[in-house]
């Protein structure tokens, strides 16, 4: 990484993405197993989402309180998504999809806290999630349809002369799914957080140069962008989940 120091304000917008170990652990078979800030925020995301759902469901009342309502809304939201896109057969995979949604949502939202670390702004994290989804769905497809799952790559009602070309395109588009799924989440989170840091640098730079009235404009933009980033954080969790549902539906029902 050539973290070139940005001139002027001297604020490096990429500094927030640096992974550094909190607890140094010995390398295991050449793999660094240190507990990093990335690990910490992942543990926090899992812990907080688990705590939230436990507290939401512990004192369940007929007339739900605020917390219970939020938990039920999150559950109902994902359950509806799975039912609408995959059908009732898809409910078998609901626990996986719900955990995926909650994990990504909490990682994105925790990343919006000042001085926090956005786990999903690292390609390897999102790629691991996307690869899990890809392998699971390919596995489900082959388990349900056997070798007939390969018919997914042969579109029906196409003239035979076009078929070889289209099969190649279908295979490539299937194989790029984990890449596009992970790059979408990673790109959105990283670009958004970089933008916030750059505008934050404008505010600090203008303020320290004694131009405080001028600093109001980027500050107002910062507030607006923070709102936009909160929207994107929720939206990207939703998009990742709904694309998982759509891919799963294809693997289960195999209709074009």
């Amino acid at each position: 990484m050539a973290g070139s120091s940005e001139g002027g304000a001297g604020i490096d917008p990429m500094h927030q993405f640096e992974v550094h170990p909190i607890v140094e652990l010995p390398a295991l078979a050449g793999i660094d197993t240190s507990f990093t800030n990335s690990s910490l925020w992942m543990v926090l995301a899992v812990g907080l989402s688990g705590l939230f759902l436990l507290m939401a469901s512990s004192r369940s009342a007929l007339v739900p309180g605020r917390l219970q309502l939020m938990g039920e809304m999150a559950y109902g939201f994902v359950a509806n998504m799975v039912k609408e896109n995959v059908g009732t057969e898809g409910m078998k995979y609901f626990p996986f999809i719900f955990s995926l949604f909650m994990f990504i949502l909490f990682c994105n939202m925790l990343g919006m806290l000042p001085y926090s670390f956005t786990v999903t702004s690292h390609l390897i994290v999102t790629f691991a999630l996307a690869a899990t989804v890809f392998l699971l769905i390919t596995g489900v497809g082959f388990a349900r349809h056997g070798i007939g799952f390969l018919k997914l790559f042969v579109p029906s009602g196409i003239p035979a002369i076009l078929l070889p070309l289209l099969v190649v395109i279908e295979v490539i588009s299937y194989l790029t799914r984990p890449v596009s799924l992970s790059v979408r989440l990673f790109g959105n989170m990283m670009a958004g957080h970089t933008m916030l840091k750059i505008f934050g640098g404008f505010v600090v730079g203008l303020g320290s140069a004694g131009l405080v009235p001028l600093a109001i404009a980027p500050f107002a933009l910062m507030v607006a962008f923070t709102g936009l980033e909160l929207l994107i954080a929720g939206l990207q969790a939703y998009v990742f989940t709904i694309l998982t549902c759509i891919y799963l539906n294809e693997a289960i029902h195999m209709d074009h």
Binding site: M1, A2, G3, M14, M81, S180, V183, R184, F186, G187, N188, M190, A191, L235, Q236, Y238, V239, I242, L243
Partner: protein, 75 residues
């Protein structure tokens, strides 16, 4: 030309991909609004499709941004 300079120029050119994403997102939301104003009762049911189209269009632009970032920080 120095390799360092070429790297920065390449990163700048790669960011042009985001213009396509901008046009695509504008098209999607514009067409959604046009349709929603004609038939507001059907708009709510198409909201998930709107977000899906938005996400798919945005991703293609982000691929260009990734290329720019790879050029800047990895190459």
């Amino acid at each position: 030309m120095e390799a360092e300079a070429a790297k920065y120029i390449g990163a700048g050119i790669a960011c042009i991909a985001l213009a396509g994403a901008g046009m695509a997102i504008g098209t999607i939301f514009g067409n959604f609004l046009a349709g929603a104003l004609r038939n507001p009762s059907a708009a709510q049911s198409q909201f998930p499709n709107l977000l899906l189209g938005f996400a798919l269009a945005e991703a293609t632009g982000l691929f260009g941004l990734i290329i720019a970032l790879i050029l800047l920080f990895v190459v």
